[in-house]
Subunit: 232 residues, 2 copies
Amino acid sequence: MGGNKGTYIYQYPHPAVTTDCVIFGFDGVSIKVLLIQRGIEPFKGKWAFPGGFMKIDETAEECARRELEEETGLKNAAVEQFYTFSDVNRDPRERVISVAHYALVRLSEVKGGDDAASARWFSMDEVPSLAFDHDRILRMAVNILKERICFEPIGFELLPEVFTMTELQNLYEAILEVKFDRRNFYNKMLKLGILSEAEPRPANATRRTPSKYRFNAEKYAELKQKGFRLEF
Amino acid sequence: MGGNKGTYIYQYPHPAVTTDCVIFGFDGVSIKVLLIQRGIEPFKGKWAFPGGFMKIDETAEECARRELEEETGLKNAAVEQFYTFSDVNRDPRERVISVAHYALVRLSEVKGGDDAASARWFSMDEVPSLAFDHDRILRMAVNILKERICFEPIGFELLPEVFTMTELQNLYEAILEVKFDRRNFYNKMLKLGILSEAEPRPANATRRTPSKYRFNAEKYAELKQKGFRLEF
DNA sequence: ACAAAAGTGTTAGGCCTACACCCATGA
DNA sequence: TCATGGGTGTAGGCCTAACACTTTTGT
């Protein structure tokens, strides 16, 4: 924490406020989540989400981004809050409420993080028992992710800028835990009108060379303004 | 606030934490929101959402329900949090973050509230400029309500237990600010399978007597479990 | 050769949308 | 008697879901 340790007096008890960040990634096969191993008590040695105490002059979102960078090296992630956890005994030290955020990032963006000696990606089925109430936070984050990806084009944040239709389908299938028919997925995605062809399909393209696409944010914004609603 | 005024000392500065409640109602024609007029500074005389400081031994939801009852007489409302507002200067007294909640209630439930000398229902287009950042909170609450009512059967919480199809349609139209074709709305609602006929249509029923329905929570739970998704 | 990956329609059924008619009631 | 509210289909179009064949490449 910053250099503002000292004595702070209030007429009424104040809870401490923290933020936590559930960071999702995708390796082409399965959804990953970024955890750090705690170096201090409580829960020393246990895995937890990056996060920490909010400073008195920053918003929750600023706090989440700052803690994320400090603990994992990941900069400027597009974090978004999804729930505030306020159970009375969720932290053994003192009363702490936590504003939980999530973000979707490309694995490559965090790989080089060196601040992050203790940060590691876990597949969803490898995640160990977590510190504090972070198991519950994770469950809720996963549910929120499942809901959001049905109605907002956030999945692209997990893929490289340019991707194949199969990669995109794998992503949707991994998040929603369902299987789609390859051809129907293909048709539906193209019909939505929010993808552009990344390259005009090279001259040496054969049947076996997959087409590359990118997400077209302008088209999406345009459609959305017209009342278009994404649905999956 | 309770009798715990005193001196509370921390090593780091702590923000104060409040909850606010956006309470929606419906009078058959338009959506209403419940406001209270502030009796003390800051913003004395201005209208604001019911809410207040969180006690050290209660969750955000408990706090929201307690403050709501204290200030409006409304008991046990099904409040649900939707966003935590943490701008640094949102309260002139000190750093305050607020966990905002919303609830849908029947107007009749709050009519008799006598604690609530200063509580009043406002139509959405009558709402005055509000205290703190409550204008922003209201805008976000309305957006959340519009989104939720498309996918969850929460609208029924605003109607009497037994209602006509026309009343239900008026509700959807008021919230979503659109018009539906009467016959299509009728067919769609019935096809969803989440309504029951309230009465077997009395003997003196004429063509002019509208059928009465009620929301069937069991059927909804059953369908939902099968993967059914409500859509509007 | 053969399995696996990718491109490409087609068809049937269901859902949504737009739209019309009839009856009863209250003004 | 006439405007209004309410009950009840129907026809066309669009979307969705299920489904097959061809080509290429790596083994």
